[in-house]
Structure formats: C-alpha cells, structure tokens
Symmetry: C2
Subunit: 407 residues, 2 copies
C-alpha cells in the first residue's frame, strides 16, 4: 500500500531547506552507536569543537539542541527569560515576530521596535533603545529570510554589555554563509540553522553561549528526580524552574559535558550529519565559503537584472544568500513557482504576511549555492516567465551570469 | 584535524537507542525535498496514515514532533495543561518522575502515587485515585524501561472518561513491540518513541491524540504573527497562550493539515527514516512483530536463567522487550559492561537512581531483536562474567537459548 521511498532529485533554490551535501547524506546512513558509547561521545566532543570554529568563539558551550532551528531559539530564550523580564526585539521581518512569540510564551515583558520590511535598523537606533529601555535581553535576527535583509550588529553586543543586557542573536540563516564573529561581536548566545548554509537536513539547532548567559541559566538549574543525588534534590528545592524540561539548557549542558548526565537520547544520525556537514564547511574554509556565497549571488543578481526584473528591498542591507524579486505586475507568482517545480524540478520560494504574493525569494545557500544551480534557475525562470507572458528581456539573463563566471 | 566518520558496527542490546534497520539507514540518504513540495507533503500524509495503523486508531491527528521522545511528551502535556490543572501521575520508575517534571514545568498541580520499583499498579488502585482526586489529566508510562516493567492500562481510559479526565500515555518503549490499542483502550493522547521498537534513529516523537484532547488544545489556539490573517489576529487576542511555541500542538496540527501553515521546517531526513521504519513494521505485521519480540525474549530469559542469573522485578509485569538482571554480589557491573563493549562490541545498559549499580538491562527491541544478537549477548556475557570470577553456570546459557530456537 505504501510505496518505496524515491524522492525526485530537485534543484532547491529556496532560503531553506536546501540541498543536502552528498557527503552528509552518506554520513547519515552510518550504523548507530549507543548514546554513551565512548566512540559516540568522542563524536559529540568533536561536534562541539567544530561548532566553536564555525562560530569563532572560545565558549565552552557549543552544541545542538535536538529539534529544528526554532527549538534552539526557544531553548536559549526560555532558559534565560524569567517571567516579567524585559526583552527588546527589533523587528524587520517575520522572524522578528517569531522571537516575540517565543518570548511572550515564556512570560517576558516584550518591547518591540519596527522598521519597514525591506529595510534594516541603523545600529544607533537599537543602541539608543537599549539605553532608554534597559532590557535584560536584546533578541535580534541576523539574517531575515522573509525579506532577504541582513541586520548589521557588530556594535550592539558592546552596547548590551555597557547597559547590563544580554545579547541573543538568531543566526539561523547566516551561519556558515557569511561572517558571524560571536566573540568579537560580544554576542552572549547565538542560534544557527542546519538546513540552510550548512547543507545539513533540518532537525538540529546548533547553539553557543558564553559565561554571562550560563550564569543566568545556572541560577535556575535543577537536576531531574529519578537521576538526581540527595544533595542535588535539596538544591533543586530552593530554586525556581526553567519553564521547559526539554529546552532546559542547564540540563542539556550536563548531557554535553564530561558528566554525561542523561537527559534525552541524542539524535545519533542527525549528529552524524552535523559532524560531516561541519567537516565540509571547515575543509572549504570559512572565508572561502563566505566568498563563494557572494560570488554566486553576484552571478544570480546579474542574471535577474539582465532579465529586467526588479530586486526587492534595500540593496545595502541585502542578505548575500537570499535574493528577493518583485513579482512583475499581472503575473501569478504561485503559477510561476508551480511550473518551475513541475517542469524543471526547480524550487524557489514565496514569502509571508505582507509580502505574500508580492515577491519571490531565491536562496543560494550551502551546497545549493553553485554554478549549475544558478544557471538552471535563471534559464528556467526566464522560460517560465515568457510562458506566462511577462514583459522581460529574453536571452540576456544567462549571458549576464556567464559574464560573471567566465571573467 | 577531524577524521572521517566511521562508527564501529555494534550489537546494541540496550533499551534504546537500538540498531537502526538497514532499510531505514538507506532511506535517510535520499535527497532532500522542499518542505512544501507536493512530493514531500504526500510523504507526510503517508506517515500520518501509517502512524494511525501503528497506534490502531482512527484519530485524525497522528504525526511526529521534531525532537527526541521527550519532546513529544512535553508537546502533549504542555498543550493540554493550563497552569493550576490537577494532574495524576502514578509512578513505578524513573520515567514516571519525568512526567511529573514536565507537568510541573508547565504549572500543573501534580499528585503522584508510587509503587515499589520492580512492581506495577493494580489498575483498580489507579482508578480509585482518579475517582477521589478528579484530575483533569492522568499521565502514565506504559513501558518503564528503567525497571523493565509494563503497566496494564486497558481499564484506565474508561475510568478517565467516566470521571471527566484525559488519559495521556507514554508508549515510548512499547510502540511497535507490544500491543497499543489506542482507540479500544480509550487513550486520549499517546507518545511513541522511534529509537526503540521502531528501529528508527532518535530525533522524532510520533504522537496521536483524539477529539477530546484536540478540544482542550484548540481552546488556546493562536496563529503566529507574521503569518496570521487579520481575523486570526483578533481571535488570538482573546485567548490565553499555550506555554511553548515549538510544542504548540494547535500550530503543529495546522502544519500537518491541508492548510500547511508554516511553523518549523520539517526534519526531512528523519521523516524519510520514519516513513521507511513504519513500512518495515507494517510489512512485518503488528501481531507478527509483537510475537517476534516475545519469542526472542523467551530465548534470552532461558539463556540468562541457564547461566544461573537472577532476573529483577515482578515476573508478571515484565516488559517483553526489556530484561533486567540483578548484578551478582561482588561483581562490578560497569566493568562487565565496558568489557562487553570493548571486547565483543556488544552494548547492554545499566539503570538509574536507586537501581544504579544494582541491575543490568538488556533490550530486545526492533531490528536488534533477532537470534544472532540474543546468542551473541548470552555468549559474550557468560565469557565476561567468568573473566570477572562470577559464580555462574558455565556452558549452559547458549544451549538453553538454542532449545527455544531449535524447537
């Protein structure tokens, strides 16, 4: 009744999930090890070491939460927020709203500032709000895939530190694709995504946090009954609890520490995937990988402009791995996407909320960020737009991209 | 610096994670599909249909939560519990404590009843407590791997219904290995595990719940800002929120429904794994699979008794896929486990809390539950025990198991 699994080979040019690196796919078919097998805990330690390199941090804590990207965001926020804590969330797209949703579920007193979608904030604006509001936490999206914008944030960590705030950054879209200098930028906690520039399937959320964040988390540490010692049970009694067991970072870090205190059963195959994905990234080199993302972005943008399409949003704040295009007047954006998928096996994305039906989004992320994919999406999109009667320049898109590639 | 991934081939005889079925390992190396690709949403629908067969339910909602088993437990409980709600948790091992931990994190007023570890409750005892306490929710572990016991519960759902309570069952250890008749037993919500009798890696938590549970969940439904319509935003305003965004089943079910309302990015490769794991289970047949678990348990028990070892706990309440053994006087249990792993590549488990250092636990689950594994663990354990100077019968264990197999 249920047929063999045989998914088609797609060219995935969305802002995630993107194509998985073939080395990562192969790694996932390795046999399972037990969660406390010394061979497996050695792999866990290597994953931590590689994550530190990826995040450019000396933080002790760098490990994945077992869930999709937003599980990492919720783990960080719910472990740091106590009910009533003041949190500042600057919003410039959908995923800023997600941060407020998560903070509010955990009882935070959330203040938002917003700028127009398609733009980002001047850092000075955020810093002034931090000074006047004095929040406990500032939560900010680094790369907002819904609008294709990237928020500069290298000055904000310093301002947080000066004003006694903790700085939490959602780097789900940017990690492994563009600079994320956690220590240099004085970021206290960061959440990355696997299914975007790392080209690992969705299902883990690698995070890192420093001693400032850890101090806040450990103040509510409890060890589970059923595995706690007598001493720990009496310590438990005097402390308020973090609002989730699964997302309790004080427990997760015990599991990822030498103590290996049992919590969940680690998602073995996904850890294999992350291990191999991080090896691929570090073997390529971070700077080389960031340059590759900019290079293919340049070719893609040249090709889209060659077609006469208009890019959406502030050029200066463009996210290098997401390119947003205004859907031409009179064209049904969903019909174009469907035809691209059905006839060419190429997937591009629409967007959310106020941008639904207004823009397409093309991702050039990780393993999907390569020449043949950029050329395929340009030629496919041109053909489909012509089929839909769009008033575009024909025959100029791919040559413009080739100009970049054949320089 | 970081070497090729090449995990050893282990014989994993713990109560989970166990060896992954090779068909499942291969499925995970299939290329990724986009989360809204019609090919992928068809796979999601098939997974739901197969889960209904596994759980023997007509429930509309049967889908995985993206996280390890306890993520499913927390999703169910936090979506059903409102702060102050009375919850009854009968405890007969470590994972009963886990249920209380999770309930308390979400503000429940938890009442526990406990029986001695190694025993289970008379159903009548639980039913009487339900009648006197009138809880909103009864949360119960079906198979308690920490003690290797199975709680009979076919009468409890009916009692819950009569007393206006919702019945939530943790079937992480039992699903796919022994009977779980969700509709017949009138269970309102159930959480299964992947890494045990389904032989799929850890990382998803398949759940199912009925209309009674759904009504409670939907009373606190909110649609995320950034994707909500104007009408939905005004509905949101009048409702209290579920205490987590990631675990909000009212949002997860929208994602798994025809509406496909964006929430997280589904863990594609893990869904492939679950898809193939469920196909393997249904092709074998549920009754045949349950019988296989009992058959190999019988051989294992015969072999262990042949060695002269003493089984731990009430025989009548024994979990068919977990066999607990008292560590013989004077033997260092951890030294035995380490030697079994290092010399034979065989992993067995210790236990938690009061049972730490007192018992070993051997799992016969899913793909690990097969003849060569049972014979390997018996001969390995005998050799290691002799090496440690244990007073056991030599040369009688494997023949006793073979008596079962060669009948």
């Amino acid at each position: 009744m249920f047929s063999e699994l045989q998914p088609s080979q797609r060219t995935i040019m969305t802002p995630g999930p993107v194509e998985t690196d073939p080395r990562v796919l192969r790694a996932m078919s390795s046999p399972i090890l037990g969660q406390f097998d010394p061979e497996f805990t050695a792999i866990m330690n290597d994953v931590m070491a590689m994550l530190r390199q990826l995040y450019r941090t000396e933080n002790r804590w760098a490990f994945p939460v077992d869930g999709t990207s937003r599980s990492g965001i919720e783990a960080v926020l719910c472990s740091m927020i106590e009910p009533g804590d003041r949190v500042l969330v600057p919003i410039y797209g959908r995923f800023g709203y997600l941060l407020t949703e998560i903070c509010e579920r955990h009882g935070a007193d959330v203040t938002t500032i917003e700028c127009e979608w398609g733009e980002v904030f001047q850092q000075e604006t955020i810093i002034q709000t931090i000074e006047s509001l004095a929040p406990k936490i500032v939560a900010l999206v680094h790369g907002e895939t819904s609008t294709g914008r990237q928020q500069p944030l290298d000055q904000i960590g310093q301002a947080c530190r000066k004003n006694g705030a903790l700085f939490v950054v959602d780097a789900v879209a940017t990690i492994g694709g563009t600079e994320m200098n956690v220590d240099e930028w004085q970021i206290d906690a960061v959440i990355g995504g696997t299914q975007k520039c790392l080209s690992v399937p969705s299902g883990l959320a690698p995070i890192t946090y420093n001693e400032r964040a850890e101090a806040v988390i450990q103040a509510r540490k409890k060890v589970e009954r059923g595995i706690a010692t007598e001493d720990e049970l009496s310590l438990n009694a005097g402390r308020p609890a973090i609002g989730s067991n699964y997302f309790d970072l004080s427990q997760l870090q015990d599991y990822w520490s030498e103590r290996r205190l049992n919590h969940h059963t680690e998602a073995t195959s996904m850890v294999y995937a992350l291990y191999e994905g991080l090896r691929v990234v570090l073997q390529e080199g971070l700077e080389e990988r960031f340059a590759r993302h900019r290079y293919h972005e340049q070719a893609l943008v040249a090709g889209l402009k060659g077609m006469g399409l208009t890019l959406y949003g502030s050029e200066e704040a463009k996210l290098p791995m997401v390119t947003c295009i205004e859907i031409p007047e009179g064209i049904d954006g969903e019909s174009v996407r469907a035809m691209l998928l059905e006839q060419f096996g190429i997937e591009i994305a629409s967007s959310f909320g106020p941008l639904k039906g207004k823009i397409w989004r093309i991702g050039t992320m990780g393993y999907s960020c390569r020449k043949e994919n950029v050329l395929a999406v340009l030629s496919g999109l041109e053909a489909v737009l012509l089929y839909h009667g769009a008033a575009i320049e024909s025959g100029r898109s791919v040559p413009e991209a080739l100009n970049v590639y054949m320089q």
